[in-house]
Protein backbone atom coordinates (compact mmCIF):
# COMPACT_ATOMS: atom_id res chain seq x y z
CA UNK A 1 0.00 0.00 0.00
CA UNK A 2 1.45 3.24 -1.06
CA UNK A 3 0.32 6.28 0.83
CA UNK A 4 -1.16 8.95 -1.26
CA UNK A 5 -1.86 6.65 -4.11
CA UNK A 6 -5.42 5.36 -4.07
CA UNK A 7 -6.22 1.98 -5.47
CA UNK A 8 -8.00 3.54 -8.42
CA UNK A 9 -4.69 4.74 -9.79
CA UNK A 10 -3.52 1.20 -10.03
CA UNK A 11 -6.70 0.19 -11.66
CA UNK A 12 -6.52 2.90 -14.24
CA UNK A 13 -2.94 2.01 -14.92
CA UNK A 14 -3.86 -1.60 -15.39
CA UNK A 15 -6.79 -0.72 -17.58
CA UNK A 16 -4.68 1.40 -19.85
CA UNK A 17 -2.11 -1.31 -20.07
CA UNK A 18 -4.78 -3.87 -20.73
CA UNK A 19 -6.26 -1.97 -23.61
CA UNK A 20 -2.85 -1.13 -24.95
CA UNK A 21 -2.40 -4.88 -25.10
CA UNK A 22 -5.73 -5.30 -26.78
CA UNK A 23 -4.82 -2.65 -29.27
CA UNK A 24 -1.58 -4.42 -29.97
CA UNK A 25 -3.35 -7.69 -30.41
CA UNK A 26 -5.66 -6.18 -32.94
CA UNK A 27 -3.09 -4.27 -34.95
CA UNK A 28 0.30 -5.94 -34.83
CA UNK A 29 0.85 -8.10 -37.81
CA UNK A 30 3.63 -10.13 -36.51
CA UNK A 31 2.47 -13.17 -34.63
CA UNK A 32 5.20 -12.73 -32.06
CA UNK A 33 4.24 -9.19 -31.33
CA UNK A 34 0.68 -10.34 -30.96
CA UNK A 35 1.92 -12.75 -28.40
CA UNK A 36 3.73 -9.93 -26.68
CA UNK A 37 0.49 -8.00 -26.59
CA UNK A 38 -1.18 -10.86 -24.80
CA UNK A 39 1.61 -10.82 -22.28
CA UNK A 40 0.82 -7.18 -21.68
CA UNK A 41 -2.77 -8.09 -21.10
CA UNK A 42 -1.92 -10.75 -18.60
CA UNK A 43 0.51 -8.45 -16.88
CA UNK A 44 -2.09 -5.78 -16.46
CA UNK A 45 -4.41 -8.28 -14.91
CA UNK A 46 -1.68 -9.21 -12.49
CA UNK A 47 -1.31 -5.60 -11.46
CA UNK A 48 -4.99 -5.54 -10.71
CA UNK A 49 -4.82 -8.61 -8.58
CA UNK A 50 -1.85 -7.38 -6.64
CA UNK A 51 -3.28 -3.96 -6.06
CA UNK A 52 -6.61 -5.29 -4.90
CA UNK A 53 -4.96 -7.73 -2.62
CA UNK A 54 -2.74 -5.13 -1.07
CA UNK A 55 -5.24 -2.35 -0.79
CA UNK A 56 -8.51 -4.02 -0.02
CA UNK A 57 -7.92 -7.54 1.19
CA UNK A 58 -4.52 -7.77 2.70
CA UNK A 59 -5.56 -10.41 5.22
CA UNK A 60 -5.25 -13.12 2.66
CA UNK A 61 -3.01 -13.62 -0.30
CA UNK A 62 -5.44 -14.80 -2.89
CA UNK A 63 -4.72 -12.07 -5.39
CA UNK A 64 -1.05 -12.59 -5.08
CA UNK A 65 -1.27 -16.29 -5.58
CA UNK A 66 -3.55 -15.81 -8.50
CA UNK A 67 -0.95 -13.60 -10.15
CA UNK A 68 1.67 -16.18 -9.42
CA UNK A 69 -0.28 -18.84 -11.21
CA UNK A 70 -1.16 -16.51 -14.02
CA UNK A 71 2.51 -15.95 -14.60
CA UNK A 72 3.10 -19.68 -14.72
CA UNK A 73 0.22 -20.20 -17.11
CA UNK A 74 1.42 -17.32 -19.25
CA UNK A 75 4.79 -18.93 -19.47
CA UNK A 76 3.44 -22.23 -20.65
CA UNK A 77 1.10 -20.51 -23.02
CA UNK A 78 3.95 -18.54 -24.48
CA UNK A 79 5.99 -21.69 -24.85
CA UNK A 80 3.33 -23.51 -26.82
CA UNK A 81 2.49 -20.42 -28.83
CA UNK A 82 6.07 -19.91 -29.80
CA UNK A 83 6.37 -23.54 -30.79
CA UNK A 84 3.40 -23.17 -33.04
CA UNK A 85 4.71 -19.89 -34.43
CA UNK A 86 7.92 -21.60 -35.36
CA UNK A 87 5.91 -24.27 -37.06
CA UNK A 88 3.93 -21.63 -38.89
CA UNK A 89 7.12 -20.07 -39.99
CA UNK A 90 8.22 -23.38 -41.40
CA UNK A 91 4.95 -23.92 -43.22
CA UNK A 92 4.17 -20.45 -44.45
CA UNK A 93 7.66 -18.98 -44.44
CA UNK A 94 6.20 -15.93 -42.80
CA UNK A 95 4.77 -15.01 -39.46
CA UNK A 96 2.60 -12.23 -40.70
CA UNK A 97 -0.82 -12.90 -39.28
CA UNK A 98 -2.57 -11.53 -42.32
CA UNK A 99 -1.01 -14.17 -44.47
CA UNK A 100 -2.21 -16.92 -42.20
CA UNK A 101 -5.71 -17.01 -43.60
CA UNK A 102 -5.99 -20.08 -45.73
CA UNK A 103 -9.26 -20.97 -44.13
CA UNK A 104 -12.08 -18.53 -44.27
CA UNK A 105 -15.76 -17.99 -45.04
Amino acid sequence: MITGVPVQYFLILATLMFFAGVYGFLTRRNLITMLMATELILNSVNINFMAFNRYLYPQKMEGMFFSLFVIAVAASEAAVAIAIIINIYRRFATINVEDVNQMKF
Binding site: T38, N48, E77, V80, I84, R91, V100, M103
Partner: protein
Protein backbone atom coordinates in the same frame (compact mmCIF):
# COMPACT_ATOMS: atom_id res chain seq x y z
CA UNK B 1 -7.12 -34.17 5.72
CA UNK B 2 -7.14 -37.90 5.69
CA UNK B 3 -5.67 -39.63 2.66
CA UNK B 4 -8.91 -41.35 1.74
CA UNK B 5 -10.34 -37.96 1.03
CA UNK B 6 -8.09 -37.87 -1.97
CA UNK B 7 -10.26 -40.54 -3.47
CA UNK B 8 -12.88 -37.94 -4.03
CA UNK B 9 -10.62 -36.80 -6.83
CA UNK B 10 -10.69 -40.27 -8.25
CA UNK B 11 -11.28 -39.19 -11.83
CA UNK B 12 -8.36 -36.81 -11.91
CA UNK B 13 -6.05 -39.20 -10.11
CA UNK B 14 -6.87 -42.03 -12.45
CA UNK B 15 -6.33 -39.86 -15.46
CA UNK B 16 -3.01 -38.69 -14.14
CA UNK B 17 -2.11 -42.31 -13.64
CA UNK B 18 -2.91 -43.03 -17.25
CA UNK B 19 -0.73 -40.15 -18.31
CA UNK B 20 2.10 -41.62 -16.30
CA UNK B 21 1.56 -45.08 -17.68
CA UNK B 22 1.69 -43.76 -21.22
CA UNK B 23 4.80 -41.75 -20.44
CA UNK B 24 6.52 -44.76 -19.01
CA UNK B 25 5.43 -46.91 -21.89
CA UNK B 26 6.77 -44.34 -24.28
CA UNK B 27 10.09 -44.22 -22.57
CA UNK B 28 10.55 -47.96 -22.27
CA UNK B 29 8.98 -49.23 -25.44
CA UNK B 30 10.81 -50.21 -28.56
CA UNK B 31 10.54 -47.58 -31.29
CA UNK B 32 9.09 -50.11 -33.69
CA UNK B 33 6.38 -51.17 -31.35
CA UNK B 34 4.90 -47.81 -30.62
CA UNK B 35 1.67 -49.07 -32.09
CA UNK B 36 1.16 -51.09 -28.95
CA UNK B 37 0.84 -47.88 -27.03
CA UNK B 38 -2.40 -47.22 -28.81
CA UNK B 39 -3.95 -50.39 -27.56
CA UNK B 40 -2.53 -49.84 -24.12
CA UNK B 41 -3.86 -46.33 -23.85
CA UNK B 42 -7.26 -47.20 -25.17
CA UNK B 43 -7.59 -50.11 -22.79
CA UNK B 44 -6.40 -48.08 -19.84
CA UNK B 45 -8.78 -45.35 -20.68
CA UNK B 46 -11.58 -47.80 -21.11
CA UNK B 47 -10.89 -49.13 -17.65
CA UNK B 48 -10.96 -45.78 -16.01
CA UNK B 49 -14.08 -44.81 -17.91
CA UNK B 50 -15.71 -47.82 -16.39
CA UNK B 51 -14.24 -47.06 -12.98
CA UNK B 52 -15.68 -43.60 -13.16
CA UNK B 53 -19.13 -45.02 -12.76
CA UNK B 54 -18.37 -46.60 -9.42
CA UNK B 55 -20.15 -44.83 -6.63
CA UNK B 56 -18.09 -42.15 -5.14
CA UNK B 57 -18.10 -40.00 -2.08
CA UNK B 58 -19.14 -36.43 -2.53
CA UNK B 59 -17.84 -33.45 -0.74
CA UNK B 60 -15.29 -30.70 -0.69
CA UNK B 61 -11.61 -30.97 -0.17
CA UNK B 62 -8.73 -28.57 -0.18
CA UNK B 63 -10.71 -26.10 1.77
CA UNK B 64 -13.46 -25.93 -0.77
CA UNK B 65 -11.21 -25.59 -3.75
CA UNK B 66 -12.25 -28.93 -5.06
CA UNK B 67 -15.89 -29.84 -5.00
CA UNK B 68 -17.36 -33.15 -5.94
CA UNK B 69 -21.01 -33.87 -6.31
CA UNK B 70 -23.25 -36.27 -8.09
CA UNK B 71 -23.86 -34.06 -11.03
CA UNK B 72 -20.22 -33.13 -11.41
CA UNK B 73 -19.33 -36.81 -11.38
CA UNK B 74 -21.93 -37.36 -14.00
CA UNK B 75 -20.44 -34.64 -16.12
CA UNK B 76 -17.02 -36.16 -15.83
CA UNK B 77 -18.36 -39.55 -16.74
CA UNK B 78 -20.06 -38.10 -19.75
CA UNK B 79 -16.82 -36.51 -20.82
CA UNK B 80 -15.01 -39.79 -20.24
CA UNK B 81 -17.41 -41.56 -22.52
CA UNK B 82 -16.88 -38.94 -25.15
CA UNK B 83 -13.13 -39.12 -24.92
CA UNK B 84 -13.32 -42.90 -25.05
CA UNK B 85 -15.21 -42.61 -28.31
CA UNK B 86 -12.71 -40.12 -29.66
CA UNK B 87 -9.87 -42.46 -28.78
CA UNK B 88 -11.54 -45.38 -30.46
CA UNK B 89 -12.15 -43.34 -33.55
CA UNK B 90 -8.62 -42.03 -33.74
CA UNK B 91 -6.97 -45.44 -33.76
CA UNK B 92 -7.00 -45.66 -37.51
CA UNK B 93 -5.63 -42.20 -37.80
CA UNK B 94 -2.85 -42.83 -35.31
CA UNK B 95 -1.82 -45.95 -37.13
CA UNK B 96 -0.90 -43.97 -40.19
CA UNK B 97 2.81 -43.71 -40.78
CA UNK B 98 2.92 -39.96 -40.54
CA UNK B 99 1.64 -40.04 -36.99
CA UNK B 100 3.72 -42.90 -35.71
CA UNK B 101 6.14 -40.65 -33.91
CA UNK B 102 3.61 -38.88 -31.76
CA UNK B 103 1.26 -41.52 -30.52
CA UNK B 104 2.01 -41.24 -26.88
CA UNK B 105 2.11 -37.46 -27.08
CA UNK B 106 -1.35 -37.55 -28.51
CA UNK B 107 -2.67 -39.51 -25.60
CA UNK B 108 -0.77 -37.57 -23.02
CA UNK B 109 -1.90 -34.22 -24.29
CA UNK B 110 -5.46 -35.25 -24.76
CA UNK B 111 -5.73 -36.83 -21.36
CA UNK B 112 -4.10 -33.89 -19.70
CA UNK B 113 -6.66 -31.58 -21.23
CA UNK B 114 -9.27 -33.91 -19.87
CA UNK B 115 -7.67 -33.62 -16.48
CA UNK B 116 -7.90 -29.89 -16.85
CA UNK B 117 -11.56 -30.13 -17.67
CA UNK B 118 -12.22 -32.37 -14.75
CA UNK B 119 -10.54 -29.96 -12.40
CA UNK B 120 -12.42 -27.15 -14.00
CA UNK B 121 -15.71 -28.89 -13.44
CA UNK B 122 -14.87 -29.72 -9.89
CA UNK B 123 -13.51 -26.34 -9.03
CA UNK B 124 -14.88 -24.41 -6.10
CA UNK B 125 -12.46 -21.58 -6.58
CA UNK B 126 -11.68 -19.41 -9.52
CA UNK B 127 -8.01 -20.21 -9.42
CA UNK B 128 -8.71 -23.87 -9.93
CA UNK B 129 -11.20 -22.93 -12.54
CA UNK B 130 -8.67 -20.82 -14.36
CA UNK B 131 -5.90 -23.36 -14.26
CA UNK B 132 -8.26 -26.08 -15.36
CA UNK B 133 -9.41 -23.89 -18.19
CA UNK B 134 -5.89 -23.25 -19.38
CA UNK B 135 -4.92 -26.86 -18.98
CA UNK B 136 -7.89 -27.70 -21.10
CA UNK B 137 -6.91 -25.19 -23.77
CA UNK B 138 -3.18 -24.95 -24.23
CA UNK B 139 -2.44 -28.58 -25.11
CA UNK B 140 -5.37 -28.57 -27.50
CA UNK B 141 -3.77 -25.78 -29.45
CA UNK B 142 -0.77 -28.00 -29.83
CA UNK B 143 -2.98 -30.86 -30.85
CA UNK B 144 -4.69 -28.68 -33.41
CA UNK B 145 -1.28 -28.01 -34.88
CA UNK B 146 -0.54 -31.71 -34.72
CA UNK B 147 -0.46 -32.33 -38.44
CA UNK B 148 2.75 -30.49 -38.88
CA UNK B 149 2.97 -31.18 -42.55
CA UNK B 150 -0.32 -29.38 -43.22
CA UNK B 151 -0.54 -25.64 -43.37
CA UNK B 152 -4.09 -25.64 -42.16
CA UNK B 153 -3.21 -27.48 -39.05
CA UNK B 154 -0.60 -24.96 -38.04
CA UNK B 155 -2.94 -22.15 -38.83
CA UNK B 156 -5.58 -23.72 -36.68
CA UNK B 157 -3.12 -24.04 -33.84
CA UNK B 158 -1.99 -20.45 -33.89
CA UNK B 159 -5.48 -19.11 -34.22
CA UNK B 160 -6.65 -21.14 -31.31
CA UNK B 161 -3.84 -20.30 -28.96
CA UNK B 162 -3.73 -16.60 -29.67
CA UNK B 163 -7.42 -16.01 -29.49
CA UNK B 164 -7.65 -18.12 -26.40
CA UNK B 165 -4.89 -16.07 -24.84
CA UNK B 166 -6.87 -12.95 -25.59
CA UNK B 167 -10.00 -14.45 -24.24
CA UNK B 168 -8.44 -15.71 -21.07
CA UNK B 169 -6.92 -12.28 -20.62
CA UNK B 170 -10.34 -10.71 -20.79
CA UNK B 171 -11.73 -13.37 -18.53
CA UNK B 172 -9.02 -12.72 -15.98
CA UNK B 173 -9.62 -9.03 -16.19
CA UNK B 174 -13.22 -9.67 -15.33
CA UNK B 175 -12.24 -11.95 -12.51
CA UNK B 176 -9.94 -9.30 -11.13
CA UNK B 177 -12.88 -6.93 -10.92
CA UNK B 178 -14.96 -9.46 -9.12
CA UNK B 179 -12.09 -10.09 -6.78
CA UNK B 180 -11.68 -6.42 -6.27
CA UNK B 181 -15.23 -6.00 -5.12
CA UNK B 182 -15.57 -9.14 -3.05
CA UNK B 183 -12.10 -10.13 -1.97
CA UNK B 184 -12.49 -13.80 -2.55
CA UNK B 185 -12.29 -16.41 -5.24
CA UNK B 186 -14.32 -19.08 -3.53
CA UNK B 187 -17.53 -19.75 -5.37
CA UNK B 188 -19.54 -19.99 -2.23
CA UNK B 189 -18.35 -16.75 -0.79
CA UNK B 190 -18.86 -14.90 -4.02
CA UNK B 191 -22.37 -16.22 -4.33
CA UNK B 192 -23.20 -15.00 -0.86
CA UNK B 193 -21.82 -11.51 -1.09
CA UNK B 194 -22.44 -10.73 -4.73
CA UNK B 195 -24.40 -7.57 -5.24
CA UNK B 196 -25.56 -5.85 -8.33
CA UNK B 197 -23.03 -3.09 -8.80
CA UNK B 198 -21.88 -2.02 -12.21
CA UNK B 199 -18.32 -3.06 -11.66
CA UNK B 200 -19.37 -6.54 -10.70
CA UNK B 201 -21.54 -6.79 -13.73
CA UNK B 202 -18.70 -5.56 -15.90
CA UNK B 203 -16.47 -8.18 -14.36
CA UNK B 204 -19.12 -10.77 -14.92
CA UNK B 205 -19.49 -9.80 -18.56
CA UNK B 206 -15.78 -10.07 -19.17
CA UNK B 207 -15.93 -13.44 -17.55
CA UNK B 208 -18.91 -14.30 -19.67
CA UNK B 209 -17.10 -13.49 -22.88
CA UNK B 210 -14.24 -15.72 -21.84
CA UNK B 211 -16.62 -18.60 -21.36
CA UNK B 212 -18.52 -17.67 -24.49
CA UNK B 213 -15.29 -18.09 -26.36
CA UNK B 214 -14.92 -21.63 -25.12
CA UNK B 215 -18.48 -22.54 -26.00
CA UNK B 216 -18.14 -20.56 -29.24
CA UNK B 217 -21.07 -18.29 -28.77
CA UNK B 218 -21.58 -15.59 -31.35
CA UNK B 219 -19.82 -13.08 -31.58
CA UNK B 220 -17.00 -14.89 -29.82
CA UNK B 221 -17.10 -17.84 -32.14
CA UNK B 222 -15.12 -16.78 -35.13
CA UNK B 223 -12.14 -18.96 -34.37
CA UNK B 224 -14.29 -22.05 -34.33
CA UNK B 225 -14.71 -22.76 -37.98
CA UNK B 226 -11.10 -22.15 -38.92
CA UNK B 227 -9.75 -24.20 -36.08
CA UNK B 228 -12.19 -27.02 -36.68
CA UNK B 229 -11.35 -27.13 -40.31
CA UNK B 230 -7.64 -27.00 -39.84
CA UNK B 231 -7.22 -29.38 -36.96
CA UNK B 232 -7.03 -33.11 -37.46
CA UNK B 233 -10.53 -34.51 -37.52
CA UNK B 234 -10.41 -36.32 -34.23
CA UNK B 235 -9.12 -33.19 -32.57
CA UNK B 236 -11.96 -31.28 -34.15
CA UNK B 237 -14.32 -33.84 -32.77
CA UNK B 238 -12.73 -33.51 -29.41
CA UNK B 239 -12.93 -29.74 -29.55
CA UNK B 240 -16.50 -29.65 -30.66
CA UNK B 241 -17.75 -32.16 -28.20
CA UNK B 242 -15.58 -32.65 -25.17
CA UNK B 243 -14.02 -29.26 -24.91
CA UNK B 244 -17.29 -27.52 -25.54
CA UNK B 245 -19.16 -29.88 -23.28
CA UNK B 246 -16.80 -29.26 -20.40
CA UNK B 247 -17.05 -25.52 -20.88
CA UNK B 248 -20.82 -25.75 -20.95
CA UNK B 249 -20.80 -27.76 -17.75
CA UNK B 250 -18.65 -25.39 -15.80
CA UNK B 251 -20.39 -22.40 -17.24
CA UNK B 252 -23.76 -23.58 -16.12
CA UNK B 253 -22.39 -24.47 -12.71
CA UNK B 254 -20.85 -21.04 -12.33
CA UNK B 255 -23.91 -19.24 -13.57
CA UNK B 256 -26.25 -21.14 -11.33
CA UNK B 257 -24.15 -21.24 -8.20
CA UNK B 258 -21.90 -18.20 -8.32
CA UNK B 259 -23.99 -15.60 -10.08
CA UNK B 260 -27.58 -16.34 -9.16
CA UNK B 261 -27.91 -12.81 -7.87
CA UNK B 262 -27.57 -11.24 -11.28
CA UNK B 263 -29.72 -13.77 -13.03
CA UNK B 264 -31.60 -10.97 -14.75
CA UNK B 265 -28.40 -9.75 -16.33
CA UNK B 266 -27.17 -13.02 -17.61
CA UNK B 267 -30.56 -14.00 -18.82
CA UNK B 268 -30.50 -10.97 -21.05
CA UNK B 269 -27.00 -11.72 -22.20
CA UNK B 270 -27.92 -15.28 -22.97
CA UNK B 271 -31.13 -14.26 -24.61
CA UNK B 272 -29.30 -12.09 -27.07
CA UNK B 273 -26.32 -14.30 -27.67
CA UNK B 274 -28.34 -17.46 -28.05
CA UNK B 275 -30.46 -15.92 -30.76
CA UNK B 276 -27.34 -14.66 -32.48
CA UNK B 277 -25.56 -17.93 -32.07
CA UNK B 278 -28.30 -20.09 -33.45
CA UNK B 279 -29.00 -17.82 -36.36
CA UNK B 280 -25.48 -16.96 -37.39
CA UNK B 281 -24.29 -20.51 -36.94
CA UNK B 282 -27.09 -21.76 -39.12
CA UNK B 283 -26.67 -19.13 -41.76
CA UNK B 284 -23.02 -19.89 -42.12
CA UNK B 285 -23.55 -23.60 -42.11
CA UNK B 286 -25.83 -23.38 -45.12
CA UNK B 287 -23.02 -22.53 -47.44
CA UNK B 288 -20.27 -24.83 -46.27
CA UNK B 289 -18.72 -27.42 -48.50
CA UNK B 290 -16.08 -28.82 -46.22
CA UNK B 291 -17.66 -31.22 -43.79
CA UNK B 292 -15.46 -30.27 -40.90
CA UNK B 293 -16.24 -26.63 -41.36
CA UNK B 294 -19.84 -27.53 -41.82
CA UNK B 295 -19.90 -29.39 -38.56
CA UNK B 296 -18.14 -26.49 -36.93
CA UNK B 297 -20.96 -24.14 -37.78
CA UNK B 298 -23.46 -26.75 -36.88
CA UNK B 299 -21.84 -27.03 -33.49
CA UNK B 300 -22.02 -23.27 -33.12
CA UNK B 301 -25.72 -23.32 -33.64
CA UNK B 302 -25.99 -26.26 -31.29
CA UNK B 303 -24.36 -24.07 -28.66
CA UNK B 304 -27.14 -21.61 -29.25
CA UNK B 305 -29.72 -24.25 -28.49
CA UNK B 306 -27.83 -25.34 -25.42
CA UNK B 307 -28.05 -21.81 -24.10
CA UNK B 308 -31.80 -22.27 -23.95
CA UNK B 309 -31.21 -24.63 -21.10
CA UNK B 310 -29.25 -21.96 -19.29
CA UNK B 311 -31.66 -19.18 -19.55
CA UNK B 312 -34.30 -20.37 -17.16
CA UNK B 313 -31.86 -20.80 -14.33
CA UNK B 314 -33.97 -23.75 -13.35
CA UNK B 315 -33.35 -27.31 -12.36
CA UNK B 316 -34.92 -28.60 -15.53
CA UNK B 317 -32.56 -26.46 -17.55
CA UNK B 318 -29.56 -27.82 -15.73
CA UNK B 319 -30.69 -31.36 -16.27
CA UNK B 320 -31.53 -30.85 -19.86
CA UNK B 321 -28.19 -29.24 -20.57
CA UNK B 322 -26.30 -32.16 -19.10
CA UNK B 323 -28.55 -34.57 -20.89
CA UNK B 324 -28.21 -32.72 -24.12
CA UNK B 325 -24.45 -32.74 -23.93
CA UNK B 326 -24.58 -36.49 -23.54
CA UNK B 327 -26.82 -36.78 -26.55
CA UNK B 328 -24.71 -34.30 -28.41
CA UNK B 329 -21.60 -36.32 -27.72
CA UNK B 330 -23.11 -39.37 -29.28
CA UNK B 331 -24.57 -37.53 -32.21
CA UNK B 332 -21.68 -35.32 -33.08
CA UNK B 333 -19.14 -38.04 -32.55
CA UNK B 334 -21.24 -40.26 -34.74
CA UNK B 335 -21.04 -37.67 -37.48
CA UNK B 336 -17.37 -37.00 -36.93
CA UNK B 337 -16.68 -40.69 -36.73
CA UNK B 338 -18.05 -41.18 -40.19
CA UNK B 339 -16.20 -38.16 -41.53
CA UNK B 340 -13.02 -39.44 -39.96
CA UNK B 341 -13.46 -42.94 -41.27
CA UNK B 342 -14.06 -41.68 -44.77
CA UNK B 343 -11.26 -39.19 -44.58
CA UNK B 344 -8.90 -41.94 -43.45
CA UNK B 345 -10.00 -44.22 -46.20
CA UNK B 346 -10.18 -41.77 -49.05
CA UNK B 347 -8.98 -38.40 -47.88
CA UNK B 348 -12.22 -36.83 -48.96
CA UNK B 349 -13.87 -34.26 -46.76
CA UNK B 350 -16.21 -32.37 -49.03
CA UNK B 351 -19.95 -32.74 -49.19
CA UNK B 352 -19.82 -33.32 -52.91
CA UNK B 353 -17.60 -36.30 -52.36
CA UNK B 354 -20.36 -37.87 -50.33
CA UNK B 355 -22.69 -38.04 -53.27
CA UNK B 356 -24.02 -41.51 -53.66
CA UNK B 357 -22.33 -42.73 -50.52
CA UNK B 358 -25.27 -44.86 -49.63
CA UNK B 359 -24.72 -47.08 -52.58
CA UNK B 360 -21.19 -47.92 -51.64
CA UNK B 361 -21.19 -47.60 -47.88
CA UNK B 362 -24.75 -47.97 -46.69
CA UNK B 363 -23.94 -48.49 -43.06
CA UNK B 364 -21.82 -45.40 -42.76
CA UNK B 365 -24.48 -43.41 -44.52
CA UNK B 366 -27.12 -44.63 -42.17
CA UNK B 367 -25.02 -43.81 -39.16
CA UNK B 368 -24.36 -40.38 -40.57
CA UNK B 369 -28.02 -39.87 -41.20
CA UNK B 370 -28.97 -40.94 -37.72
CA UNK B 371 -26.36 -38.65 -36.26
CA UNK B 372 -27.51 -35.73 -38.36
CA UNK B 373 -31.12 -36.34 -37.52
CA UNK B 374 -30.20 -36.46 -33.91
CA UNK B 375 -28.40 -33.15 -34.25
CA UNK B 376 -31.39 -31.72 -36.03
CA UNK B 377 -33.70 -33.00 -33.34
CA UNK B 378 -35.76 -35.43 -35.30
CA UNK B 379 -37.55 -38.16 -33.43
CA UNK B 380 -37.21 -40.87 -32.41
CA UNK B 381 -33.50 -40.39 -31.97
CA UNK B 382 -32.07 -38.86 -28.87
CA UNK B 383 -31.48 -35.38 -30.19
CA UNK B 384 -35.19 -34.84 -30.32
CA UNK B 385 -35.57 -35.50 -26.65
CA UNK B 386 -32.58 -33.37 -25.84
CA UNK B 387 -33.88 -30.42 -27.77
CA UNK B 388 -37.35 -30.87 -26.42
CA UNK B 389 -36.11 -30.68 -22.86
CA UNK B 390 -34.00 -27.65 -23.62
CA UNK B 391 -36.97 -25.88 -25.09
CA UNK B 392 -39.13 -27.00 -22.24
CA UNK B 393 -36.66 -25.56 -19.80
CA UNK B 394 -36.76 -22.21 -21.53
CA UNK B 395 -40.52 -22.30 -21.88
CA UNK B 396 -40.93 -23.07 -18.21
CA UNK B 397 -39.71 -19.58 -17.45
CA UNK B 398 -41.84 -18.07 -20.15
CA UNK B 399 -39.24 -17.44 -22.82
CA UNK B 400 -41.64 -18.32 -25.59
CA UNK B 401 -40.31 -15.89 -28.20
CA UNK B 402 -36.90 -17.40 -27.72
CA UNK B 403 -38.32 -20.88 -28.04
CA UNK B 404 -40.07 -19.94 -31.24
CA UNK B 405 -36.92 -18.44 -32.68
CA UNK B 406 -35.06 -21.55 -31.67
CA UNK B 407 -37.52 -23.93 -33.25
CA UNK B 408 -37.54 -21.88 -36.41
CA UNK B 409 -33.80 -22.11 -36.41
CA UNK B 410 -34.03 -25.85 -36.21
CA UNK B 411 -35.72 -25.64 -39.58
CA UNK B 412 -32.69 -23.97 -41.09
CA UNK B 413 -30.47 -26.49 -39.45
CA UNK B 414 -32.64 -29.29 -40.70
CA UNK B 415 -32.15 -27.85 -44.15
CA UNK B 416 -28.43 -28.17 -44.14
CA UNK B 417 -28.40 -31.49 -42.38
CA UNK B 418 -30.68 -32.70 -45.10
CA UNK B 419 -28.21 -31.43 -47.66
CA UNK B 420 -25.82 -34.11 -46.45
CA UNK B 421 -28.53 -36.70 -46.39
CA UNK B 422 -29.40 -35.63 -49.88
CA UNK B 423 -25.83 -36.01 -51.00
CA UNK B 424 -25.55 -39.46 -49.50
CA UNK B 425 -28.89 -40.86 -50.49
CA UNK B 426 -30.32 -38.90 -53.34
CA UNK B 427 -27.53 -37.79 -55.54
CA UNK B 428 -25.53 -39.86 -57.96
CA UNK B 429 -21.82 -39.81 -58.32
CA UNK B 430 -19.48 -40.68 -61.14
CA UNK B 431 -16.71 -41.69 -58.83
CA UNK B 432 -18.18 -42.46 -55.46
CA UNK B 433 -16.15 -43.17 -52.41
CA UNK B 434 -15.04 -46.75 -52.66
CA UNK B 435 -16.50 -49.34 -50.43
CA UNK B 436 -14.23 -49.89 -47.50
CA UNK B 437 -14.16 -51.46 -44.13
CA UNK B 438 -12.94 -49.64 -41.08
CA UNK B 439 -11.01 -51.13 -38.26
CA UNK B 440 -12.68 -52.83 -35.39
CA UNK B 441 -12.09 -49.82 -33.17
CA UNK B 442 -13.87 -47.45 -35.45
CA UNK B 443 -16.76 -49.78 -35.97
CA UNK B 444 -17.03 -50.31 -32.26
CA UNK B 445 -17.01 -46.59 -31.67
CA UNK B 446 -19.64 -45.95 -34.29
CA UNK B 447 -21.73 -48.77 -32.92
CA UNK B 448 -21.57 -47.15 -29.52
CA UNK B 449 -22.58 -43.86 -31.00
CA UNK B 450 -25.55 -45.38 -32.73
CA UNK B 451 -26.58 -47.18 -29.60
CA UNK B 452 -26.26 -43.93 -27.73
CA UNK B 453 -28.25 -42.02 -30.30
CA UNK B 454 -31.02 -44.53 -30.32
CA UNK B 455 -31.22 -45.52 -26.69
CA UNK B 456 -30.49 -42.31 -24.85
CA UNK B 457 -33.74 -40.74 -25.88
CA UNK B 458 -36.06 -43.50 -24.92
CA UNK B 459 -34.35 -44.28 -21.68
CA UNK B 460 -36.25 -41.98 -19.44
CA UNK B 461 -34.42 -43.39 -16.45
CA UNK B 462 -31.28 -41.71 -17.65
CA UNK B 463 -32.87 -38.32 -17.78
CA UNK B 464 -34.51 -38.86 -14.44
CA UNK B 465 -31.17 -39.84 -13.00
CA UNK B 466 -29.52 -36.71 -14.30
CA UNK B 467 -32.38 -34.63 -13.16
CA UNK B 468 -32.21 -35.92 -9.65
CA UNK B 469 -28.54 -35.15 -9.54
CA UNK B 470 -28.75 -31.79 -11.01
CA UNK B 471 -29.21 -29.47 -8.19
CA UNK B 472 -26.72 -31.09 -6.00
CA UNK B 473 -24.11 -28.84 -7.57
Amino acid sequence: MSPDKFLIMRHELLLTAVVLVVLIAEVFSHPDKKGKIITLSVICFGIITALGFLPSAEGEIFGGMYVSSGSRLMMKNILNIGVMLVFLQSVDWLRKAENSDKISEYFILLISTLIGMNFMISSGHFLMFYIGLELATIPIAALAAFDKYRNNSAEAGIKLILISALSSGILLYGLSMIYGTLGTFYFKEIAVSFSNSNLQILGFIYFFTGMAFKISIVPFHLWTADVYEGAPINITAYLSVISKGAAVFIFIIVLFTVFPVIIATWQKAIYLTSILTMTIGNLFAIRQQNLKRFLAFSSISQAGYILLGFIGGNQLGMASVIYYILVYIFSNLGAFGVVLAISNASGKENIDDYNGLYHTNPKLSLIMMLALFSLAGIPPVAGYFGKFFLFTAAAEKGFYPLVIIAVLNTIISLYYYLLIVKAMFLLKNESPIEKFKSSMYTRFALGLCVAGIVVTGFASALFEFIRNLSFGI
